[in-house]
């Protein structure tokens, strides 16, 4: 497998990974833009509106029928956030011709369809159709509001939101509810055109087609892409230190039987020149997988929780621990999680712990070469960081990480936020039945919940 990266049109980069391993090819196209509170929901909406209809296939039925003809070549909207860069576009999964009856490749028509979805939407008077925009806007609002449904991810979202309250990162992948509500078809059409003109474009392909063949297909499909001044100034604002001297504490009550404790740290000074391999190894030792300190101590040994795991955001420089606990175990669980991080700072990492963490991490990275989806995500993320090494090279770097490297990452962290999602007090429930008496308090509570829901992520 060899990755070739070429600029096929102004500001349009093709990452071509040639391989005959898979039975379907993957082709994704991503417009990159700065994540901002005001525009985030518009950007998140655009691929979904485009997926409603093109000039040639004016509605979803016609579009889906076309995709079914192409043996279920699915071209679906995708919206991601990598650091403070919003990436939006389409991800296509295209069966390789060799395995289809007749042996005919469908790559060219599928690429053509991708181009039409991006560049030739169904319009009236040059504007995106109001019916499509309004309908997709409602659906996006539903998704934004539904963040509360999965309490585990909701708690993580809320912790990040509180922790990064002064940063655009807090709006999440899709943006907030009120900004979404303000969208109309005229504004959205303007934003769509400005994205086409200014956004750097990252295309990823993994499959059997040669670079030459694919480049020709893509150039034809994207021939009408209007390019203006490309905005290369997009990036992520890094905050190395906690906002206050002591970690802030936020708690919230919902109807839950199990509490969710989420703790957030800034990765700190180590982000000035981030050593990906060391940070990932630190995370594995601390809280990723069944050999991690959190799993072994907080879950297995002390049984303080059902799950406790850590994750890092290497772009934004965050460390997060998420756990599910009994309401009365808050103090004990928090203290133990902090104690485990302290232990790493003090170098309490056995050789075995480090070896196991590195072996698992390196194995996961190598296995990434067997999954197109993971390769796509990894390549996009590396392209954004201007890094040119692949998962195998990163796996090799992981093998060289030392105990001191891991310790250094731990020492660099600064705890910034402790968030706790607890159950509602049963007495409050009773009170709520009496609107006369507690009307105002309830209203405030509702307001708080609504505000919170406004900005949850998936």
């Amino acid at each position: 497998m060899e990755l070739t990266r070429t600029e096929i049109l102004p500001g349009v980069w093709l990452n071509h990974l040639h391989t005959e391993k898979f039975k379907t090819a993957c082709l994704s196209l991503n417009l990159l833009t700065q994540l901002k509170r005001e525009t985030a929901p518009m950007n998140a909406l655009i691929p979904y509106v485009l997926r409603r209809g093109t000039t040639r296939y004016p509605d979803m039925e016609a579009l889906t029928a076309r995709m079914e003809e192409l043996y279920g070549s699915a071209v679906e909207p995708v919206v991601r956030r990598i650091g403070e860069v919003q990436c939006l576009g389409f991800y296509a999964s295209i069966p390789e011709g060799e395995f289809l009856p007749g042996g005919q490749s469908v790559l060219r028509p599928a690429t053509e369809l991708l181009g039409q979805l991006l560049l030739s939407p169904a319009t009236r008077g040059g504007l995106l159709l109001p019916a499509y925009v309004d309908s997709e806007k409602e659906k996006l609002l539903d998704v934004i509001r539904s963040r509360v449904n999965d309490k585990r991810s909701y708690a993580v979202f809320r912790c990040v939101q509180e922790m990064c309250c002064f940063e655009d990162f807090a709006v999440g992948r899709l943006g907030g509810e009120s900004e979404c509500e303000a969208i109309n078809y005229k504004k959205l059409t303007r934003q769509y055109h400005s994205l086409l003109q200014q956004s750097p474009v990252e295309i990823f392909y993994c499959g059997r087609a040669s670079l030459r063949e694919l480049r020709a297909d893509l150039r034809d499909a994207l021939i009408t892409l209007p390019r203006g001044e490309i905005d290369y100034e997009i990036g992520t604002d890094l905050r190395l230190n906690a906002i206050e001297d002591r970690p802030r504490y936020v708690e919230e009550a919902l109807d839950v039987t199990q509490g969710k404790l989420v703790i957030g740290w800034r990765l700190g000074d180590c982000m000035e020149d981030p050593d990906q391999a060391a940070i990932l190894t630190f995370n594995t030792v601390f809280g990723s997988g069944s050999n991690s300190k959190l799993f072994r101590n907080v879950r297995e040994k002390l049984q303080l929780c059902y799950y406790a795991g850590s994750l890092t955001d290497l772009h934004k420089g965050l460390l997060l621990v998420s756990s599910g606990i009994e309401f009365d175990k808050l103090d004990a669980a928090r203290d133990e999680i902090l104690a485990q991080l302290e232990a790493i700072k003090n170098g309490e990492i056995s050789e075995e712990e480090l070896r196991v963490a590195k072996a698992g991490l390196a194995s996961d990275l190598r296995a990434m070469c067997d999954s197109q989806g993971e390769l796509e995500g990894f390549t996009l993320s590396q392209a954004l960081d201007g890094l040119d090494y692949g998962p195998l090279e990163l796996a090799a770097l992981v093998e060289d990480v030392s105990k001191e490297d891991v310790q250094r990452v731990a020492r660099s962290t600064e705890c910034d936020m402790i968030y706790f999602l607890k159950g509602r007090d049963p007495e409050e429930e009773e009170d709520e039945d009496d609107p006369e008496e507690d009307g105002e308090a309830i209203e405030k509570q509702i307001e708080a919940i609504l505000e919170a829901e406004e900005e949850k992520d998936e």
């Binding site: 889906t64 309908s135 698992g360």
Partner: protein, 425 residues
Amino acid sequence: MEKKEYPQLGETLFSETLPNGLRLRVIPKPGFRSRYAVLAVNYGGAHRRFRLDEELIDTPAGVAHYLEHKMFDLPDGDKALDLLSANGADPNAFTAAGATCYYFQCTEHFEENLKLLLHFVTTPYFTEETVRKEQGIIAQEIRMGEDSPESAVYYRLLGMLYARHPIRDKVAGTLDSIRDITAETLYACHKAFYAPGNLCLCVEGDVDPEEIARIARQTLPAEPGPLPEADFGEPEEPLPLERLHRESMDVSAPLFLIGAKLCPRAKGREALRERLIASLALRLLVGSASDFYNGLYARGLLSRDFDAELDFSAGLGTLLIGGESQDPEAVLRALEEELDRVKREGLDPARFERAKRASLGARLRGLEDFEGLCIALAEGVFEDYCALDASELLQSVTLAECRDYLCSRLTPEHLALSIIEPRRR
């Protein structure tokens, strides 16, 4: 070993039943770094009552899942999970209604990991103390499930559909039902269900099938052991007990699940064919290219997360259509109307051909997923068919079969609707 080529899929399948009864399936994948193995046990949350040596045994809800948690303990105090992870493998397990699966994925030390997998799943070691200790962890898992609206809408629906079948009860059991589980209960269930004759090993990756057969022969017990017979109770009536149920939780919009009992009839390869007919019929009825889906989506009655699937397990077949909607009852009405329309007008031949193409593409895509394919192979083994035959069999499915399926198995009376509404405050 029996070797079968699937030229249209570009795959080769090696199969063997060892003298101890273990069924083995291997798909070599040269050029891949990942290797995946699953040891599946034909025993899940629904196998609560079973007949063994003429004796009828009743066990509390949640035993199969409890057993899965405790299987990772080894007699020398080691934890299999730690040993596999220490070898760079990614081990895990799950318990479903119809089966329990133990699996790992790794890039190095595959054979060593495989030995360990086979060893720990067939080596029970429980003490009263470790069993008691696990209760806290499982109780937390059960409570976490209680906060999940998806789980609530699903189990409520099963309760509306099924009168007796143990699939009604949560796989993990309840805080009450797990209280009485002891080391003795776990030993008894392990003895009954975890013998090689009741297991299936599926492996995919750059491996040598003969070597895997050799390791399995060497590591597993030599005797096939008992073959317990599950007792799921009297067969279920085709119609639901209750057609509409609402509950409220902290959700942002109403969550719904429409279901029906499919009462599968066929066995073996015909069972696979029946499933393919059902799945193609479902695609035509409510799939992303259907009038039903596109109409409701455009009218704002369906959100983005709409999904329709078929679940065949523990002798049952259940249709599940669900998502979020401001008006779940309107979705149900539209589905009933669509079924009526199919009955009157039949299915469109052009759409049928397209749907078949799309299914073929989806099956091809499914081959990339080692875990999904290995588990599908194991399910097929327990049901006496080969999952890799699906693409070829699909070609033989006719329009008339799909129409007849919809008209006979899915009349409006078959449908039940479970709703979780936002709590009013």
